[in-house]
């Protein structure tokens, strides 16, 4: 009896919701940079609702990216899809394959095609468009940068205002920065490039810096064992093995900022999503620079896009799209960038007074933007999780010294080709 009451009550609410008076939207979002940023999204959503009385948005914080994707896929299959989610930009091919997203093109006017969609940095759109359609709208996007500890640089006799410009300089400086105690144990490493979980992300940057590319934009072809890729992996392995400037073995992502704060590593590679965290918590002055490349500048992009999910009426999807247009507009995007350190995804955001005041006070925030010119898309293919996992395992086995770099990458290439064969 009770169950039936609940059922009737909720169908009644659902019936009201579809009436002309109001549009109810659901929106799943993960925040990989820690819970406090979730409050910023809640605040933005509430501000939007205050100005648009006919729309009600239920913003649901869903933890990590993986948890959000799991929830979204189940909800779509269960016939209860939210209208909007934020998920990894690299999930695009997976979502298309699952037939669970709709393209944004139907929900924007021709004018907005050029002004709005055309207004994002091309580096971020590379992971958001395929087959001539736009599937994702960049929002919490990041790119890795190098952070250096100015005090450690001073102590090592280096110029604290200049970070390494290329790989060779990084190794050189790393040697000066690696400090050992009397017993021969290292108390401070020169460099820390995290490799737990998803080493492929930072490694994509090293490959780009070596003039290579891992996948094409159709999501069906990969080149894991090109000369540039093998050279990039050999250089990464050499940091611990022969240069002795980085701790051996797999280095933890989560522990990276902490190793930096505690002085265990003088230079770290990590996402700009950490900029605000480092700014708040580092007990010393720090510098931020481009990822030092083997031959040229290069870095991957990363982070999350907005996706529109199938399973709702066009009116609801239109309302969701309108919300996204508002939240990515300069003033709102500036708030988000300042709260988190994510890279503002449009040039016009950087032109706002809020952003100008912020960067005048904190010029390190500009580094990520300027690096976008050299950015390459994060590895994204059909069967994305499987292919990326193959590559990650290969990288881990090379980093831990179990396999030679070339052999590991040859193996990953062959296995990835087998998986991608049906999609050619």
């Amino acid at each position: 009896m009770k169950l039936r009451n609940v059922f009737f009550a909720s169908s009644a609410i659902a019936a009201l919701g579809t009436g002309a008076s109001a549009t109810d939207l659901e929106f799943y979002f993960p925040v990989a940079v820690g819970g406090a940023a979730a409050d910023t999204i809640q605040a933005l959503t509430e501000e939007y609702m205050a100005n648009n009385a006919d729309v009600k948005i239920d913003a649901i914080y869903t933890g990590s990216y993986a948890d959000t994707t799991t929830k979204a896929i189940t909800a779509v299959r269960g016939g209860n899809a939210p209208q909007l989610i934020i998920s990894l930009s690299t999930d695009m091919f997976t979502f298309i394959d699952e037939d669970m997203i709709v393209a944004w093109d139907d929900f924007v006017t021709e004018e907005e095609q050029t002004d709005w969609i055309g207004g994002f940095y091309p580096a971020f759109m590379a992971n958001s468009q395929t087959e001539g359609k736009t599937w994702g709208i960049p929002f919490q996007r990041s790119t890795p940068v190098l952070y250096w500890n100015k005090e450690a640089f001073k102590a090592a006799g280096l110029n604290p205002e200049e970070g390494p410009k290329n790989w060779a300089e990084m190794v050189e400086m790393g040697k000066a920065l690696t400090v050992k105690d009397d017993a021969g144990n290292v108390t401070q490493w020169g460099v820390h490039i995290p490799s737990s979980g998803f080493p492929s992300w930072l490694w994509t940057g090293i490959v780009a810096g070596n003039g290579g590319k891992l996948a094409d934009d159709t999501g069906t072809q990969v080149t894991f064992n090109s000369d540039a890729a093998v050279g990039a992996l050999e250089a990464l392995v050499a940091l611990s093995a022969t240069d002795e400037v980085m701790a051996p073995g797999i280095l933890d992502w989560g522990g990276t900022p902490k190793a930096f704060f505690d002085g265990q590593a003088a230079m770290i590679w990590t996402t700009t999503g950490n900029l605000t965290n480092v700014r708040t918590n580092a007990p010393f002055d720090f510098g931020v620079g481009f990822l030092p490349g083997l031959q040229q500048n290069g870095a991957p992009t990363g982070g999350g896009n907005f996706y529109l999910l199938k399973g709702s009426s066009d009116e609801e999807l239109q309302a969701a799209a309108d919300f996204v247009k508002w939240v990515t507009a300069p003033e709102q995007a500036a708030k988000w960038t300042i709260a988190t350190g994510y890279v503002a995804p449009r040039p016009d955001v950087w032109e706002t007074d809020t952003m100008k005041a912020y960067t005048a006070d904190f010029p390190q925030a500009l580094v990520a933007r300027d690096q976008l010119e050299y950015a390459v898309p994060e590895l994204s293919t059909f069967e994305g999780p499987k292919v990326t996992q193959l590559l990650n395992s290969a990288l881990e086995s090379a980093i831990t010294g179990q396999t030679e770099p070339k052999a590991a990458l040859d193996g990953a290439q062959a296995a990835a080709e087998a998986i991608l064969k049906p999609y050619y």
């Binding site: 659902a14 659901e26 993960p30 649901i60 929830k71 989560g254």
Partner: protein, 272 residues
Amino acid sequence: MIHDTPLDRILIRSAGTLLALLWIVPLAYAVWAAIHPPAFEARFDLTAPLTLANFTSAWDQAPFARYFLNTILLVAIILGTQLVLCTLAAFAFARLEFPGKSLLFALILMQMLVMPDILLVENYRTMRSLGLVDTILAIGLPYFASGFAIFLLRQTFMTIPKELDEAARIEGCSLLGVLWRVYVPLGKPAMLAFGLVSVSHHWNNFLWPLIITNSVETRPLTVGLSIFATTDSGTSWAVINAATLMTSAPLLLGFFLFQRQFVQSFMRAGIK
């Protein structure tokens, strides 16, 4: 009976000690990290200062009080319903005759062969059509009719001498009266053992609650903890360990306090 030689005893004892040590290491580390300042996460110095700041910091960063309430409600609802439903069903399978009995019992046993994860989408659809998405009831509903509980209690009830049953009936006891006065008291060890399994399973269950809940008002501890421990911005292991200890403390304490009773009832119920 073969007698243990001293060598056997030494081997058994040392293997036991080794297993116990392996089991306690993560817990010991969690305690270490939780009660020391973050600077001592990976530095084991006996003179390190002790602190409870990690606990207060974790408690302040997420609504753990609400998560605790949700989890306690959840396991109480599940266990209560399971015991009522499954006792009745087990009694019927153990002592009553009705058409299709063995087929039905086989179907219930099948439930134990199916991984609940396979049913995620189907269960989600059901909850949605009942309008129960994002409720505590929805987390528990798929587990109410537990095949394992029915099986376990049926086996226990079958071992109870029929003479007791008949004696009670001759004294004028009704069918449900027999269940309540004879079977339930004698089946208590099995129920206690099942209760422990059920409570610890649902206290720790993650995937289904993650998918079916959307708000702080319904999320149990596991989901709350996972959402709290995001990694990108640098994990503070001290705080996460403090939060983990907090969330597992009630189960740990309960087990330490009632260890003897639990072990005994497991032995009697034949779950090992």
